[in-house]
């Protein structure tokens, strides 16, 4: 049972194409996993479409005729056939299913690298920036307490993790603004997440602060 969903505001912006591509990817992947949000987005689409196309401007008749002729005489574009979507990822000998929205961008998934604290990450290359990562936390792993200069969206693909606020499981979508601090950790179960950041992490506690100058190396 998914407990945490994107806000309606985020879903409306997603539907209108007003978020950046990397955040669209995370929200689209949540929608793949969440029939409730899939339904909501269908409703939002109908409403947004009606509003966007509810009234027309005046079109000169010659414009209509010219464009109509051009269109109906144009040759059919080639069918858009996409490369097969990535269906699963392998890590530490384990296999994880990949939802279709992420799978369609599977060719952009970079190599895994290890991060301190039994954590692995693989960047998804979007617009040449690495601000979406698959993050894998082994059982009993923790990411030191941190905050962000920007916002963070995390989607649980498989497994569960907890922070100071709650426990999160498959399909949960967590959006944190820049003032939130948290320290995610796993217990007896491991966890694979898709995480979006709009600025590097800032570690806030103890010795982990030493990581700050380097945080952009592994979490962005």
């Amino acid at each position: 049972m998914i407990k945490f969903h994107p806000t309606e505001e985020l879903l409306v912006k997603y539907t209108q194409g007003e978020l950046d591509a990397s955040l669209c990817l995370v929200i689209g992947t949540h929608i793949d996993m969440c029939p409730v949000c899939a339904n909501t987005v269908k409703d939002i689409e109908e409403q947004v479409a009606k509003r966007a196309l509810n009234s027309g401007s005046r079109f000169a008749n010659t414009d209509i005729d010219n464009m109509l002729e051009q269109i109906m005489n144009s040759s059919a574009p080639e069918a858009m056939l996409r490369e097969p979507a990535l269906k699963e990822v392998m890590l530490e000998g384990k296999q994880f299913k990949v939802p279709p929205s992420l799978g369609r961008l599977g060719s952009r998934l970079g190599p895994w690298s290890k991060v301190p604290g039994s954590v692995w990450r693989a960047p998804v290359d979007i617009e040449g920036q690495h601000n979406v990562n698959l993050i894998y936390m082994a059982a009993g792993a923790s990411v030191p307490e941190h905050t962000h200069r920007g916002s963070e969206a995390t989607l649980v693909l498989n497994g569960s993790f907890a922070d100071e606020f709650d426990n999160y499981g498959d399909g949960d979508f967590i959006y944190l603004g820049d003032s939130h601090r948290h320290s995610p950790q796993t217990a007896q179960e491991d966890c694979l997440t898709l995480a979006w950041l709009d600025a590097p992490l800032q570690f806030t506690s103890g010795i982990a602060r030493l990581l700050n100058p380097f945080s952009s190396l592994f979490f962005r």
Partner: protein, 211 residues
């Protein structure tokens, strides 16, 4: 206003469209799209164009504030409607919604193209509206493969410890989710997952050993 002779034919079929006072229903627009898809009806497309092009233009002008870009969006969108009407399915939403999603994608790509980015994600990757769907058939292939695999590995499968076999049976044979198995057998979800993984690992070893 004078009518140029060249436009006469066009005008005749335009006059067959419903009058302004008459509500253009979703069903009617859907029928026009079906006519375009099935019979390449130029008359039906002209009606669709007359209904949607001015609306798309108003929408695009609000978005871009640039008339030329707005007209490009209208033309691109309606060109897709003409060639890809067969991809519309009424079960997924209304004609207005379908055409809006095409325009939304084109707008997204235009805005990003302006930033001159290389190797960019296209809107179609994020919201597949016009891709020829291969996913249904590939899903079936995937299911079929699994059935064959199931028969082939039936032998190995009987060699699994009971606890793992029961979990695998419920998930792969009966198609239950891991959560459902966890609820029914009253064991923690984590245990279901680890048993599944262990079982699959074991099966993999058995299969590769006998290859």
């Amino acid at each position: 206003m004078h009518v140029m002779p060249k436009n006469r034919v066009t005008r005749e079929y335009m006059n067959t469209s419903p009058s302004k006072t008459q509500e253009v229903t979703t069903e009617y627009l859907g029928k026009l799209l079906a006519d375009v898809a099935n019979t390449r009806s130029r008359r039906a497309f002209s009606e669709l164009f007359k209904h949607f092009a001015p609306r798309l233009q108003a929408f695009a002008t609000r978005q871009f504030g640039n008339e030329q870009t707005a007209m490009d969006l209208v033309q691109d969108t309606m060109t897709n409607v003409w060639h890809k009407a067969h991809l519309f399915s009424p079960e997924k939403g209304s004609p207005t919604t379908w055409i809006f999603t095409i325009a939304r994608n084109i707008r997204f790509d235009i805005l990003r193209k302006n930033k001159h980015r290389q190797n960019d994600v296209s809107a179609e990757d994020l919201w597949p509206v016009l891709s020829e769907e291969m996913s249904d058939s590939s899903e079936e292939d995937f299911a079929l493969d699994q059935n064959i695999l199931m028969q082939e590995i039936g032998e190995y499968y009987r060699q699994l410890p009971d606890a793992q076999r029961i979990v695998i049976e419920q998930i792969y044979v009966q198609g239950k989710s891991q959560q459902e198995v966890s609820d029914e057998l009253d064991i923690p979800l984590g245990t279901v997952k680890s048993r599944t993984r262990l079982a699959l690992q074991k099966l993999k070893e058995l299969i590769t050993a006998h290859d």
